[in-house]
């Protein structure tokens, strides 16, 4: 019994003393901190993920208050949380918006020709160094997954030798953009659902020789869409992501345009076709085995 009492007493006294000392020390040595920093810390998600490039949410809050970063640099916060922070500080939330990456190439294993057999290191950058790699189209995706390996969120999948971004997983950090030796990856607004999956600036017939889904530059989509939804550079047509008054092209434009090669399509449709082709290829190999 004595031991229990003494133990409790000793623990209690030590805890009390250290508590008192901490309390006194924090009062005595208090560093006047900006109350706005605490306010912003309270509004941040507190995940301390480091996605903003700062060492934790507290550090990020400091930089926001100091005006070094806009509140929307936090990839975890929702739009409401960001606007709450901006409102609390009386500043702009930041002009940029949620972005996702997209690989602007639709020429997978079945659609794009390969003119050589590449046997080297399985990496896009290495392949690009060896006479431009195996693909006949010198503007196409290698599908060797340099971008997929670099993605910290696992948002890029290689389907049929083609890199495809899953927009619902992608946070728009932009890590993959620099890894692509062909510069096919682009950060686009998350609302952009329709893309032209071709980045080759070559003339239509030249592209048609090496790929069955190129952008031929027929401009059907330009006519179908509203003013300013597409941009034309030479032969290549691409979606104009700098939203003007007409906004981004939607699914109705895809239907109206009737793209002859089908390189104008929605992300969802793109994924769907790739998976369908994958399933078909699997079936074929199974049949072959039988």
């Amino acid at each position: 019994m004595n031991t229990i009492l003494i133990a409790a007493l000793v623990c209690g006294v030590i805890a009390l003393v250290s508590g008192l000392v901490i309390g006194v020390a924090s009062k005595l040595f208090a560093v006047p901190s900006d109350p706005r920093v605490d306010l912003v810390i309270g509004l941040l998600p507190g995940a301390n993920c480091g996605g903003c490039g700062k060492a934790g949410c507290a550090d990020f809050a400091k930089s926001v208050v100091a005006g070094e970063n806009p509140p929307n640099k936090c990839p975890v916060s929702s739009a409401e949380q960001i606007s709450a922070i901006a409102h609390a500080l009386g500043i702009e939330a930041g002009s940029s918006f949620k972005q996702v990456a997209v690989v602007l190439c639709g020429g997978d294993l079945n659609q794009a020709r390969q003119h050589t057999l590449y046997n080297g290191v399985y990496d896009c950058v290495s392949a690009a160094m060896v006479a431009g790699g195996p693909k006949s189209c010198s503007y196409g995706c290698f599908g060797m997954g340099s971008c997929a390996r670099s993605c910290p969120f696992g948002a890029i999948e290689i389907i049929n030798n083609l890199a495809v971004v899953h927009p619902e997983v992608c946070v728009g950090c932009g890590t993959c953009v620099a890894t692509c030796p062909r510069h096919l990856i682009k950060l686009v607004p998350a609302e952009a659902k329709v893309h032209i999956f071709c980045s080759s600036p070559l003339k239509g017939p030249e592209k048609k020789k090496v790929c069955s889904v190129p952008c031929l530059g027929c401009r059907k989509c330009v006519k179908a869409g509203a003013e300013g939804q597409f941009t034309v550079e030479g032969v290549k047509v691409s979606v104009n992501y700098d939203t003007g008054e007409n906004g981004l092209p939607g699914e109705d434009v895809v239907a109206a345009a009737g793209c002859p090669t089908g390189c104008l399509m929605t992300v969802a449709k793109h994924l769907e076709t790739e998976y369908a082709e994958l399933a078909e290829a699997k079936k074929e190999t199974e049949n072959g085995r039988k």
Binding site: N2, I6, V10, I14, S18, I22, F29, A30, V31, A55
Partner: protein, 199 residues
């Protein structure tokens, strides 16, 4: 008891290295060793915390858990050892953090989040319990704590250098990431076991 300073210093750094021979504090060893500069910050913080924690726990051990007498009643509080150690280390680190923030903002910034992070790291606790286990005096215990911290920092630095190299090398798919880090740590540990028997 005659203190063997060679064992306390060289022994704590190399022979009985906390990470590579005693396998304590593996979490920060793997977690904060990706880059050399963060490893340096963590190493500094560990040396700092281990030194003061060893000193404080040695005092607690000597004057509280082994010889306490209250109102004439003597009690053996050996079973309270771990509880008291955690309590004291945590409180001490908290106080040091507050004081550092006031008087040395650059140091506070350099140690950053690592200081509270390692409050009850098992390497810190390990140093305290090893000291208590072999009944070390306050001064040798403090010395041991400091050099154990140095050993930890050394292991962390070597390992972060290795991991920076690993980042650049071609690693077979199944070994990428943490797998190769763990294998490397194992080989590094084997290398350090070569020191065993020196003192």
């Amino acid at each position: 008891m005659e203190t063997n300073y060679l064992e306390l210093t060289i022994g704590a750094v190399l022979v009985y290295n906390f990470v590579l021979s005693r396998f304590l504090g593996i979490c920060p060893f793997l977690g904060v060793s990706k880059r050399l500069d963060t490893a340096l910050g963590m190493g500094g913080a560990v040396v700092f915390v281990m030194t003061i924690a060893s000193c404080a726990t040695a005092l607690i051990y000597r004057y509280v858990t082994t010889s306490v007498k209250i109102f004439g009643y003597a009690a053996d509080l050996g079973f309270l050892q771990i509880t008291l150690f955690i309590l004291v280390i945590a409180a001490l680190v908290q106080i040091v953090e507050v004081i550092l923030q006031k008087f040395s903002p650059p140091l506070y910034k350099a140690l950053g989040i690592y200081l509270p992070l390692i409050t009850t790291n098992c390497a810190v606790m390990g140093a305290a319990t090893i000291n208590a286990g072999i009944d070390r005096g306050v001064w040798p215990a403090t010395l041991f704590g400091m050099f154990s911290g140095v050993g930890f920092a050394l292991a962390l630095l070597i390992f972060s250098g290795l991991r920076e190299r690993l980042e650049l090398s071609q690693i077979p798919r199944p070994f990428q990431g943490m797998a190769i880090a763990l294998i490397t740590a194992g080989i590094l540990s084997m290398a350090f076991l070569g020191f065993s028997g020196i003192c």
